[in-house]
Symmetry: C3
Subunit: 263 residues, 3 copies
């Protein structure tokens, strides 16, 4: 569905993985555009089908651009996807995530377990609702509960990626068992998954679907790529094959290889 | 000719494709240097053989650096090549392109059809000459006319890349039929073509030649790379082969595989 | 030893090679984190095992961050590795390097011959000690002497990489004969070597060892990668194989393939 509609995905992202985030959007059939000057982001997002905000190398200048672009996207009904890279690691990252969540309505929030737990912590505090902090850190059950509570609070889809991925919109909760450990040895596979969600969010209003299919596409491509290069390969070959598989992935591949179930 | 002279190519470029723009210069036999702080760009460009300005992720800080470096290059007779990424998409990009063209004498301007059309529009307006805007958007004839008129106005070589590439210096007009559709599925192939033009511009004063050979090198490498990896490959393998072919390209390859004709 | 301890390596580096510097750290078994906003670098470096500063695309904003992060690392006893990219090419790069050396105690300084010679020049001047500038530029003997004198002055390990690599802590001097000419045709292999030193520096206090093994790992991986892809390949295939070999490198490979001797 992405190839047919060729969504323009505006990304305000980090300079570590930005090339990969552009190529993964192209591989899936979208068109990437990166623009982060405060004076042009509102205009750029206005012609986009989705906005992806990634705080991986945020700075004072780009934080303003993220907020301006996000607000404009909200006004225009353009979906906003946030990747809160490193939330919890520094006050700047945690505080910026908090500010974005307070000022912008997201369609999808995707992070790893510790990022989402950090957000769940302050989301409860700053929004004055029941804390989820006392839920023990004890496996999938906890992840699903955090995702669900947070999705409900933020009125958006929350995705926690890891060994098993969890997606919740506050009502439905889905689990994905695709992927391979080697994905964690290539920088930016999380950022790229978020970029893929941005592509799908540009062509459907069902963001539980956007998040699920985006994450599944990444995981399944990782499986296929690793199978292709073989266990004696390294991350160089694997990354090449990963991009090949994103490019070649068909709806049939996803239907056959996707490992999804709902709670 | 690049390998023998090893030109230093100073690039003030975007953070999306900068690694590829550095590697493509190395592959061709040049030496890349990226420097974008206003306080050092004049000094850096002074030791360079060519300056490439690419506005792909411009911001208020780097725009100043682009202007300072370009003016210094002009003073020293160092060729300046501009890639007006996204001109027409936002006022910042269009306005910055306009400012660069007003203050800096280019050797080569390379863009896609919509970027060059945007520039042709304001170049006619801001320079008070006959508009080319009323030329119908109807194929190559129009492209060649825009390139020629614009080259004449800007006193530089204008190259429009696309399915068929058009190069004009206002007197001569050349067409290149190399390339492959898959090139549009890898981010930065336009930026890389501009970087290659920068390499050639560093070793010859004939910039109709620089632009032509730079674009032809990219197109022919794309053809050869796609032929090598085969149609069942994806953009990961293709990009690897593309760099291999730029690295391996010989003058004989260009002479045999180049598809060039003049109007 | 890196894989077992998984050191977090904080890098304030350039946007040209940053993706490769992140992936090379992952390939070796470390965890990269890039953060360069002045308001968060002290907090980020506090949780890191090593700090790598690379001035490849320095600007007024990031220079402040480099200094703040370096001072904090010094306070906490976290090793700091500097890659003075382009010292000698512009006053900004030379002056920033001088400032960093004056304010921050390094564990390892790694540069190419001309960068280190530049530093040796002003280090003698600014620190009021005997000049090494009158040593003739005549081969390895000179390199070893500069490295030794500079290591002594700066109280850190100094590594000069080139055809033969030289490492000195002021007392011991080592030479490495690994590597392949093709490494100079891929952008960032110097930056990546510095990143590898950062990984090793995060797991041992012997920084003569960190520098030696970091540089040897890069050189040996280069040899193995080039042998694997064959001389008819280009830099695309070579770079892929280089990452594969960093990922696959074992202590046994280093013991068998490392070409190291002491003066």
């Amino acid at each position: 569905m992405v190839k047919a509609k060729n969504p323009l995905v505006h990304q305000i992202t980090n300079y570590v993985t930005v090339n990969d985030c552009a190529n993964i959007v192209l591989a899936l059939g979208g068109s990437p555009v990166m623009a982060d000057d405060e004076s042009e982001v509102e205009e750029m997002v206005s012609i986009a089908s989705a906005l992806v905000i990634n705080i991986g190398t945020l700075n004072a200048r780009t934080i303003k651009s993220m907020l301006a672009a996000g607000k404009k996207a909200n006004q225009l009904g353009i979906p906003v996807i946030l990747d809160p890279v490193g939330a919890g690691a520094t006050a700047l990252r945690t505080g910026t995530t908090e500010k974005i969540l307070a000022e912008i309505q997201l369609s999808v929030l995707r992070g790893n377990r510790s990022e989402i737990k950090t957000i769940a912590g302050f989301a409860t505090k700053t929004r004055g609702v029941d804390s989820v902090d006392d839920i023990p850190d004890a496996g999938i059950g906890e992840g699903a509960e955090i995702a669900g509570v947070l999705a409900d609070k933020l009125h958006c889809v929350v995705a926690i990626t890891g060994k098993q991925d969890i997606i919740s919109d506050g009502v439905r909760t889905g689990f994905i068992d695709n992927g391979h450990q080697i994905l964690s040895k290539v920088t930016g596979t999380g950022c790229m998954a978020t970029a893929l969600i941005g592509c799908y969010a540009g062509v459907t209003d069902d963001h539980f679907l956007s998040a699920t299919v985006g994450i599944m596409t990444m995981g399944l491509a990782g499986e296929k790529a690793w199978a292709e290069v073989g266990s004696s390969a390294g991350i160089g070959s694997f990354k090449v094959a990963l991009f090949d598989w994103i490019f070649k992935m068909t709806p049939e591949d996803l239907a056959q290889g996707g490992k999804f179930h709902e709670a």
